[in-house]
Amino acid sequence: MTSPVVPVNLGVVAPARRKPGLLRQLVSRPDGLAGLLILAFFTVLAMFPNLLVGPLETAITATGPRLAPPQAGYPLGTDELGRSMLNLVVHATRVSMVIGLLATLVTVFIGALLGITSGYVGGRLDAVTMRIADFFLVIPTFVLAIILTAIIRDVLGTGSKEIFGIRLSLITIVIVIGITSWSATARIIRSQTLSLKQRAFVDRARVIGSGDWRIMRKHILPNVTNLIVANAVLTFAGAILLETTLSFVGLGDPFQPSWGQILDAARNVGAPGLGAWWYFVPAGICIVLVVFAFTLLGSALDAILNPKLQARR
């Protein structure tokens, strides 16, 4: 028998491609760049409100005319107490963004953890987890959120207590959003886990000696990262909207202006009826822009983190 010829060099050897960093890849895409820029803008607003527009104005420190349209010194007009709307909207950025971020982290963490474990382990754990998830899915989020806010506020207490420098009333909102929105994430990730579990590479990993924990971490999790990211983006947008809603119905913290608080105040004052558009339009635009930026970023991340999509590009 002649010695078999096994081609060692199969065509051109592609040099090991050094992948550019995630950030560079994001910036090279128009949607990623736009999303990043908008978010960077709001992050700066959220981080340095005092430097940009001075300390938060209150009814006592307010100096402007009442409910005045935009004018010199008050580029976004004033509210009924004479506070500069620019000052309020910029300070509100921090509260809205922090709540959105924390609520997203909580939601995605709970959702991914429960989704992967219940999908992978299956059986009774899966059944119990999913019935609980169903419960949260069918109860109208808003009603549940209102009730939960009252309960959690009762448990945690109100007032000016702080955890990690965040007021308890805000943490209440974060917990409420987390509890009401994890189930959708968990459901989606569970379904993907169920299909991944059937793939041969999970069996292979098991024979190779990977334990359940390692399989979930190294094989399932990387395969659902796109879903997690896409979901985090939607959750962030949803969290900001839910926070807005809760504030709008008066369940926010009146001492911490968020965009929702401003909209609530605008309604109380009757700004739309008075034609005081400057009262609610800036906060509204901020909400829309942030949600939009996260959506852009989400689609860009999805395309980058999913190696298949990337190859096709």
Partner: protein, 343 residues
């Protein structure tokens, strides 16, 4: 190329190993799948065979005849409703059937590894192939990460993939290269026995030939034993020393490839071979075996091939055929051959 890999048995034999025992001896293996309607399917029913060190055994048969189930039970990778109900699997004379999951760890992948059907599914799409090949080295052999990665590179070179490709994702490789990567992964822990479950199905003929050549070379160079599961008889004829033909969960015929293929004795083997296109024959139509394999929830009492067999006699429908051993090393389970014909 890599002397470390060429040197057989880097790792000592398992403690209780009998050095004189054959590599693998499977005796009366039975696997049952429990079905939702409380019925059970006897997917493998009393299969016995033996493999010597360095031997290549081909397992042939129709879909659903228990080839893959037999192989999966060696690694105990059966689906959750499948269970080994009887028999023994002796590796170096050590019975693997009573072992617990954690005791099996010593054998899985280190002694027996597998090239899975369909490389695209057996590779994690979002992890680089180098990482995936290095994983068993890290986990099973406890090697540090950089040593495992280095060896993963060597293994890739061994199967004919430049080691720079270790950073590629599975979808960036062609079908043939993915299959090579799977083979590299099977070799990661330097196993004694590699099971190839349809390793060349879904590849075109040229790539198929390359992969088979690769397997053959590896077997010679590394002193591997190979179990090749396929429905493609030509693959077995080309690569294997012995062939085992299975039908409906039982062994129909087993013996040296040349003997079996030149003079098939079991009617099923004969039918199977005439159902296979022959490039030299000028006839245009292929023989088709009439009927379908039996329902294994309720198999026929005698020979399972009897309902489709042209040579079936009355005894075939009532009695399970005994196993007849011929002097030339072929064994056949068929009533056509009186027990006297055996050795």
């Amino acid at each position: 190329m890599t002397t470390a890999i060429r040197d057989r048995r880097q790792w000592p034999l398992p403690k209780l190993a009998d050095p004189n025992a054959p590599l693998l001896e499977v005796r009366d293996l039975a696997v049952r799948f429990s079905m939702p309607d409380s019925a059970s399917v006897r997917a493998v029913d009393g299969v016995s065979f033996m493999m010597q060190h360095g031997e290549a055994l081909g397992i042939a048969g129709e879909s659903g005849c228990g080839k893959t189930t037999t192989a999966l039970s060696l690694l105990r990778l059966l689906p959750s409703n499948g269970r080994i109900t009887a028999g023994s699997i002796n590796l170096y004379g050590i019975d693997l059937v009573p072992k617990t999951e954690s005791q099996l760890a010593r054998y899985r992948w280190r002694e027996i590894s597998m090239v899975f059907q369909g490389a695209m599914n057996a590779l994690n799409p979002v992890r680089r192939i180098g990482e995936q090949i290095a994983a068993p080295i890290e986990i099973r052999l406890g090697q540090p990460q950089d040593a495992s990665n280095k060896r993963a590179g060597e293994l890739l070179e061994l199967v004919g993939i430049p080691k720079q490709r270790a950073s590629a994702y599975p979808h960036e490789l062609s079908g043939g290269m993915r299959q090579r990567a799977m083979i590299a992964m099977a070799l990661a822990c330097d196993p004694a026995l590699v099971i190839g479950d349809e390793p060349t199905t879904a590849l075109d003929v040229m790539v198929q030939a390359q992969i088979l050549q690769l397997l053959e070379r590896l077997r010679r160079d590394l002193g591997l034993s190979l179990m090749l599961i396929t429905h493609d008889l030509s693959v077995i004829a080309e690569t294997c020393d012995r062939v085992m033909v299975m039908y409906a969960g039982r062994v129909a015929e087993e013996g040296p490839v040349r003997r079996v293929f030149s003079a098939p004795r079991h009617p099923y083997t004969r039918k199977l071979m005439s159902a296979f296109p022959n490039i030299r024959a000028d006839r245009r139509t292929l023989d088709v075996i009439p009927g379908t394999p039996p329902d294994l929830r309720n198999p026929p009492p005698g020979c399972r091939f009897a309902p489709r067999c042209a040579d079936a006699m009355n005894v075939c429908r009532t009695d399970v055929p005994p196993e007849i051993r011929f002097e030339d090393g072929v064994r056949v389970a068929c009533h056509l051959y009186p027990a006297a014909a055996g050795a």
